[in-house]
């Protein structure tokens, strides 16, 4: 497990807010030389504290007016292969996220669509026809906030 000091935590928080900040800008903000800031950012990536970058796009401006979270339960567990379901669900372009979960549902999906009619088409033609798909619950996203998380509590 990667250990962080106060400056690492501050850098991580700053990059979570704006991943395009340069080492120079981070250095100026936190009182480090540009190379020292660069080394710290490098380490956060190399040791896996930063997994990837997320590009935040205005979905509606790009024609995706509807985002839906789905809970999917597999029918007849044991007889369906999780691999088959996962391979097929990953191939649906409108599916943005797939989590395998434990609880009332087996998978949690995030799906984008142009509008509700488009969503209905995706649901009927692509989701309901997934290998092993059983009960599906859909909740239409109204608002979303990403929070910084407990960065200050990380040892």
């Amino acid at each position: 497990m990667i250990r962080l000091d106060e400056i690492d935590r501050a850098i991580l928080r700053a990059l979570a807010e704006d991943a395009t900040l340069s080492a120079g800008a981070l250095g100026r903000r936190f009182g480090l030389s540009q190379p020292a800031a660069w080394r710290r950012v490098r380490r956060l990536h190399d040791e896996g504290a930063i997994r990837r970058r997320r590009l935040d796009l205005d979905r509606e401006a790009l024609g995706f007016g509807v985002t839906v979270f789905l809970g999917v339960k597999l029918a007849a567990k044991g007889r369906v292969s999780l691999e088959d379901f996962e391979r097929a669900v990953r191939a649906i372009p409108e599916v943005q996220l797939v989590h395998h979960v434990l609880g009332h549902y087996d998978y949690r999906l995030r799906v984008v669509a142009r509008d509700l009619a488009d969503f209905e088409r995706i649901l009927r033609r692509r989701i309901m026809t997934l290998p092993g798909a059983g009960e599906v619950e859909a909740n239409v996203l109204l608002s979303e906030e990403r929070r910084p998380g407990p960065i200050q509590d990380v040892p």
Binding site: L55, F64, H100, D153
Partner: protein, 152 residues
């Protein structure tokens, strides 16, 4: 703003690899670097590109447990949503908050170091949130896909 095929091509490439330099992005999308930076600047100014965020791998920082908590709220109280959301924002272990139209009213994504820590958060910080009518938990087992890419 009008978005054309070139914009879409740039966004598709950038979305797949947000760390690309202007030069790399231009080459992949088959435009000149000047066109590329002009287009990206225009998309940013128009708010189509809102920003880029580093995604923290909480597992590498010792947070091994991730749970999707789905709430229905007591909607007889008109302040239920606002008060619930304000209280949820004050819980550091909540990394995402979504509201919905459907059977579920709100979803909180909660992280914890281990099951003992999760139980402590659940009892002390989640069950004490105001106006809860029902809670359902989905424990995350594995991330199968998480690119969050739009099918541009």
């Amino acid at each position: 703003m009008q978005i054309d095929d070139t914009d879409r091509r740039l966004l598709r490439r950038l979305q797949a690899n947000p760390g690309l330099s202007t030069g790399e992005l231009a080459e992949l999308a088959g435009v000149t670097p000047a066109t590329c930076s002009r287009r990206i600047e225009k998309l940013t100014r128009a708010g189509v590109i809102r920003g880029q965020h580093a995604v923290i791998d909480w597992g590498s920082l010792g947070y091994e447990v991730e749970v999707s908590l789905r709430f229905t709220l007591d909607k007889t109280n008109p302040r239920a949503f606002d008060e619930f959301l304000a209280a949820a924002r004050a819980v550091p272990e909540v990394t995402e908050i979504q509201t919905f139209l459907g059977r579920v009213d709100v979803r909180l994504h909660v992280i914890a170091r281990d099951m003992g820590h999760y139980q402590q958060i659940y009892r002390e910080k989640i069950l004490t949130l105001p106006h809860i009518a029902d809670i359902e938990a989905l424990m995350q087992v594995a991330v199968i896909a998480e690119g969050e890419a739009l099918p541009l």
